[in-house]
Subunit: 553 residues, 2 copies
């Protein structure tokens, strides 16, 4: 068995079905082995950056390992951005690259043409990065890397293989324990005790619920216990249609969610890393007024000190299982639920602007199996807001922590192969330009991906900041050096149908389309939380009488 055969075999055993990349000399033997096997498909991207994002979209959607490969030199350096994105967002990726020199001489600028110290470059944005120079080490390292991608908090791993190992004989004698370490359950008793004394408990959830595939458990438990759930913005799709879900919080959060957060006396954070700025006057009162219990799977993350907070290192799936079997109650659930529902009812219509209205209409028209893939910028916030408003339950993807502008085309491709279902890709005019070359992939393969381009002909998010801070613009508007192509012609260059947005255009997504809608560049990111305001005091301000009533609830 050759190295390439072993590697592809192992990927197939792990359930990997799709691989993204661009061929180059040193990875051809791996590619040819992929090509020989029916169980796995290699896809050609047009920039390695998009190969990485495609793999990432796939992995985010399925929770399964996905693979991106690249040739040495610029091939692998082009993957840095999606790898850092996957690291931030806990997305399990295996990155495969190769080299031809079996000695890396670090005393000279380069050992050979296009040879790099890949491990050194990538080690701070991967969970594990290893250079493999011998067939003997290959099986162990491949298994180890794949394992680490999944162990604890997920993330990307990288193997940089001496190219001749792909054709050398491999003897797979080493094995590696494949069992993920489960921490002893310790939190349940503590949570139950604290609930007994609580009037206003909440579950604050994050992407960890998706990561551990605990969505339905989460919903069942909260509904059974009558404990309201609020979330981080990008976890709005964990249990969107439950009566116990009350939106996402944040400095651009859903108003009633921020209100509920500010009123809670017990916050049980599940798979949410509590990323509030700890010194902010907006969020400090939360820590001061409520007790916080954190369930965190990433030991290093758990080390971050949060005041008034007890942290348990557990897999949230286990925590939920344990709680489901126990008898649990808190003080007068009906009262607290009534407050939450009142807040939601009063504030449900707040903060709807033209882009969220269009997005709401779009979301209402799509079928359940469509994945919504977001880019970065104002458009993703409008999309989150619209999602909450429409009460759909479609899966949504974001670049949550790394904010990788331009990621949506790549992630949409990955999401399609992961789900074999249509994709609605929401993007802006700047994000779309950043990786527009990938329209070739979508057009050539006629993928059922509808791209909704919210074109405000500006770099909207930075423009807002400039307006606020400087009162003028540099490089963010057409008069200050920014510009956009003719997106109709651009789409047509790639054989993609261009449509001006009309109602119902997304009802049946069965081919690539680029749908453009012009957005007034003056529309910024509202609501937002000015520095120093309490977290429920988002602007634009509510009517004072209404605010006071809600604040006192």
């Amino acid at each position: 068995m050759t190295g390439a055969e072993f590697l592809v075999d192992h990927l197939i055993k792990l359930g990997v079905t799709d691989v993204f990349g661009i061929p180059g000399g040193v990875v051809l033997d791996f590619l040819y082995e992929l090509d020989r096997r029916k169980e796995i498909t290699a896809h050609l991207s047009f920039h390695e950056q998009c190969a990485g994002f495609a793999a990432s979209g796939y992995a985010q959607l399925t929770g399964k390992l996905c693979v991106a490969y690249a040739t040495k030199g610029p091939g692998i350096t082009n993957l840095l951005t999606p790898v850092a994105d996957a690291y931030s967002d806990g997305t399990p990726l295996l990155i495969i690259t190769a080299h031809s020199e079996n000695v890396l001489d670090k005393t000279v600028r380069f050992t050979g043409e296009q040879e790099l110290d890949t491990v050194d470059i990538f080690k701070s944005v991967t969970k594990y990065a290893v250079r493999i120079d011998s067939a003997a080490a290959f099986p162990f390292e491949v298994k180890k890397a794949c394992n680490i991608a999944f162990k604890g908090r997920k993330g990307p791993v990288l193997i940089d293989v001496l190219t001749r190992v792909f054709t050398e004989n491999i003897f797979d004698i080493q094995t590696l324990n494949n069992v993920i370490k489960i921490m002893p359950i310790k939190s349940a008793d503590y949570i139950i005790e604290k609930l007994k004394a609580s009037h206003r408990p909440i579950f604050l959830i994050g992407d960890g619920i998706h990561q551990s595939r605990a969505e339905s458990k989460m919903r069942e438990l909260s509904e059974k216990l009558n404990i309201p759930v609020i979330s981080s913005r990008c976890s709005e799709d964990v249990m969107p249609i439950s009566g116990m879900y009350f939106g996402y919080i944040g400095s651009h959060g859903i108003r009633y969610a921020n209100f509920i957060l500010s009123k809670a006396d017990l916050i049980i954070a599940l798979g949410n890393r509590l990323a509030f700025p700890l010194n902010s006057d907006s969020f400090k009162p939360i820590y001061e007024n409520a007790e916080i219990i954190r369930i965190e799977y990433d030991e290093s993350e758990a080390g971050r000190h949060i005041p008034n907070c007890k942290c348990f290192i557990e897999n949230v799936q286990d925590t939920l299982n344990e709680l489901s079997d126990r008898s649990i109650s808190y003080i007068e659930p009906n009262k607290w639920i009534a407050v939450c529902n009142r807040l939601k009812k009063e504030l449900f219509e707040a903060d709807i602007n033209p882009p969220t209205r269009i997005l709401s209409e779009a979301f209402q028209s799509i079928s359940n199996d469509v994945t919504i893939v977001n880019d970065v910028g104002n458009n993703e916030f409008w999309s989150s807001r619209a999602y909450i408003n429409t009460g759909i339950s479609n899966r949504t993807l974001y670049s949550k922590c790394f904010g990788a502008l331009g990621c949506s085309l790549g992630k949409s491709i990955g999401a399609y192969y992961a789900s074999q279902s249509p994709v609605l890709c929401i993007t802006g005019d700047q994000g779309l330009q950043l990786n527009s070359q990938e329209l070739q992939f979508i057009g050539m393969h006629k993928l059922p991906i509808a791209i909704l381009l919210l074109n405000n002909n500006s770099s909207g998010m930075i423009r807002s900041r400039e307006k606020q801070r400087y009162g003028r613009f540099v490089h963010t508007t057409p008069n200050s050096g920014y510009g956009t192509p003719d997106f109709k012609k651009l789409a047509e260059a790639y054989g993609i149908e261009y449509i001006k947005y009309t109602t119902g255009v997304f009802e049946k997504i069965d081919r690539p389309i680029l749908v453009e809608v012009i957005i007034d560049e003056e529309i910024g990111l509202e609501p937002n939380l000015p520095r120093g305001n309490r977290c429920c005091e988002l602007v634009p301000e509510l009517n004072k009488t209404l605010f006071d009533v809600l604040d006192k609830l």
Copy 2:
């Protein structure tokens, strides 16, 4: 004086005139300071990768420092490829990025949103990378970084600045010696002695001649001493129209250059790193049969052992100056020059194929001030061959060592701002797709850049390798998953005129145009040197009688 004011002041003092990048929150104060100053211009790119390549093209052409900036997170990670390219090619770049957290906690996955250990990622592909967290350290670090970019062998440096330092007060009390250390001259006597005993000496030159701006010195000396000059491929533009220049060597080299190399008894390598594979049967005889003298400016590079070679660490400019003033001769120059001229005459017409014919025609039609910027792939080799054939003297840019596919659009932009003269950008269908978003920059600003697209509808270089090694294709041809957009529509989407190649189309490059020429996909990279052949035995083989005659000269 604020940090931003100090930085921009210092850049202006160093003669920096152009800066490329994309705005983001943490770098706005720097951008606004750039925008305020008349002596320096900030340009908006559409992908940071192209900002890096634009800066690189500028720096390669002028030998001056050029600057690319990016915001934190994906902004800076998008710059990795052009930075690694600049490191490989010794291009002086200053990369500026910023961060908002003044402590980088390496024990957690990320300290704050989009915060990265930039220095750790970039340190192996920069000469110096530093995180600057205080206003006190700022002036010293800025000067130090800029200095290092130029010290010895040039290259990229990176500063990652705490964003508030841009607005804090700076007291520039520290100074740094700005003088580049000049090594004592040691080689001249040795060279002169060796020449006295030599019948067939050659100068083998590389990009170091450009790096030290020693082009005219090089030409004068070789013509005065009647010593033939051969070069690396990408240094063909050092002294192209001299009677002493005999082309570039290599496994796809000019036949007469490879012949001359194989006949030399003394090789004086100037600014050429002698990157032959040392164990190759093709190049081993060179080391065995000739004495080699190396002038190398990069001490670490000089540490690489080459058999039968004496290495001096000197600035090649100094070596040439010293030699110019001395009395020097070798044995019967006329005989050796006659051999070289005979080889050139007999083989001048060899290896012309349709693409090189078109490129030759294109090159003959352009004016002297046009910079030729190459991409990566077969097209760059055809371009090199055509350049030699036409005897023009235009400046050419390549991604010499890193082979960064897709770099040419970005570098063309930089080359235009560096020269304020037209640019002819040679690219292939895959390279153009990789960074096609940057057509927006070129189209919007109506830059005088003519893009010559050699479209063989395939990933030509990898296709050739597949054909040779596997006899079939994966992802490199239209039937195996590769594809191209409609380049006419693509150009038009960006407001760029599209023209099918015709004679004379490049006579006046005064606006952006995309000129496409269809190349038969079967045309590969010829000539080439099969493993084990002597370096003059390129295939397709010469007529045996002619070969024997030339071999015995």
